[in-house]
Amino acid sequence: MAICVVSLTTAAQAGSQESLAPGAIAIVVHKDTQVDNLSMADLRSIFLANQQYWPDRTRITLLVRAPKSDERDFVLDSIYQMTEAQFRQYWIAKMFRAEVPRGPKIVFSTDMTLDLVVAIPGSISFIRSDEAAEGVKIVRIDGKLPSEAGYPLK
């Protein structure tokens, strides 16, 4: 399987063909995470905390934007397929059932998201693809990068 680790720098170096498409949501992980591609089903499983560990047993830390951001609305609609109220109830129920010891960490800006993804091993989050920065890894979804046709999070 081809391994593709892309930062904004490498994307920019690849020229306009590889530049990240504005309007898409990029899934970003800590740079040491041993994952380069996730299926949409795997991504949903991680975002639902049904999968809580990466294959190397690093704990997954999910960072989610605070309410009233376009990125959060997009992810709730496309990955969770939930309304804001259903999303809250889902996580409260998940903790109620003792299936997770904590809910997702809430982040308030793209800068905060990037800072924490850089700092927390095993972290995963989402940002607008044109706001990606160095130090994080963009993960392919169903084998596609945000700039590619058929990327599912557009």
């Binding site: 049904n50 999968q51 047993r57 309304t83 109220a85 409260i92 059932r97 904590r102």
Partner: protein, 362 residues
């Protein structure tokens, strides 16, 4: 002696939990968001209040339901603690109870080992909603899993192995428990030890298929030998199955349980219990999705010859129709009409109004 110590223990735990509440937010803010190895604590509370009216000879009026406090502690990447304490209004006082008390170590997604007191992982409702009235669409629980139910062993004390294979297309999950069976008060778990040498075991498998996001299918088995005061021991085997579609357009929950009971020293004395419910709800696409009408049918049948439950008068038929109004992110008002028959004594009708809420920082 154990019973006299129990209220003191629960009272102390409640006090500890509530006093920790004042520190919890400080702990959360002080723990670095960048370091998952640092302990984090979270408090979640549930509460409900109801108005009950019925044409049966039971007290009507306002009732404080249950106050429930959860303390959830993440003690690092792999170790976590979960506790749940409830306060339930009784005729002249409040009953405090340690509902759950779980210390869990995660080896991986596929293998998590814990010990403590659980909601018995058999069926859907008992472990999905339980004391969280705000979480469930309806005012009340199905009769088969009501508080103090004798049909389902509601709590389980012991050790539990659980895990999942999230990457499999079937979203396979399992739970396997070994511990104390029912107390000689069969509505309770053996909190301070089993009443005999035969431990109970429980096994549950469920699947959340990736291609049918929202679907949850499960099968469960439970086995125990129940020792009763002044009565011969009874072998109990329970099988359960459920289907739940958790998306709210619609929400569907169907659960069935079959129990068989047999005297240990005389297999000719036996009996069966069949219990089921089917619930349908639908989140209406109006007024910002705040309204959810619902309906539920349920039935319990117990053989008169059943050596454990035959004399308990647990036959039940019920139908409910209601609506839930989520007027706030963390609170809901529910109105419910009920028509039911207990132990073949004639049908009765009732109305319940409930406000249920959750206290959390989510």
């Amino acid at each position: 002696m154990m019973r006299s110590a129990y209220p003191r223990l629960t009272g102390l735990l409640c006090l500890l939990m509530y006093s920790m509440g004042s520190f919890a937010s400080d702990l959360i803010s002080q723990s670095s968001a960048e370091d998952n190895s640092q302990p984090e604590f979270q408090i979640i509370g549930f509460g409900d209040m109801s108005y009950v009216s019925s044409d049966a000879a039971r007290p009507d009026g306002f009732a404080i339901g249950q106050g429930v406090a959860h303390l959830i502690g993440s003690l690092g990447d792999s170790l976590s603690f979960f506790s749940e304490v409830s306060a339930t209004a009784k005729d002249s006082n409040y009953a405090f109870e340690v509902e759950r008390f779980i210390l869990k170590y995660d080896f991986s997604d596929a293998l998590k080992l814990s010990a403590g007191r659980y909601h018995t992982p058999i069926g859907y409702w008992n472990s999905s909603f339980h004391h969280g009235a705000w979480l469930q669409s309806t005012v009340s629980r199905p009769e088969m899993v009501k508080f103090g139910s004798k049909i389902v062993p509601i709590h389980f004390v012991g050790v539990l192995l659980e895990g999942s294979v999230p990457s499999s297309r079937l979203g396979f999950e399992y739970k396997a428990g070994f511990g104390n069976g029912r107390h000689d008060n069969i509505a309770r778990a053996g909190d301070a030890g089993d009443t005999n040498q035969n431990k109970a075991w429980v096994l549950q498998f469920n699947s959340r298929p990736h291609d049918l996001y929202g679907l949850n299918l499960g099968l469960g088995f439970y086995s125990d030998e129940v020792a009763l005061v002044d009565s011969p021991s009874v072998k109990e085997n329970i099988a359960s199955a459920y289907v739940a579609w958790s998306k709210e357009t619609p929400e569907v929950i169907v659960e069935y349980q079959h129990s068989s009971h047999e005297l240990v020293n005389d297999s000719s004395v036996s009996g069966d219990v069949d219990a089921w419910y089917a619930q349908l709800a639908y989140r209406l696409p109006l007024d910002d999705n705040k309204w959810k009408p619902y309906a539920r049918l349920e039935q319990t049948r117990v053989d008169e010859s059943d050596p454990l439950l035959g004399a308990e008068g647990l036959d039940y038929d019920g139908a409910i129709l209601g609506v839930r109004w989520d007027f706030h992110h963390y609170a809901a008002l529910k109105a419910e009409y009920r028509n039911e028959e207990f132990n073949n004594l004639g049908r009765e009708s009732g109305f319940r109004l409930q406000i249920a809420f959750v206290l959390t920082k989510m």
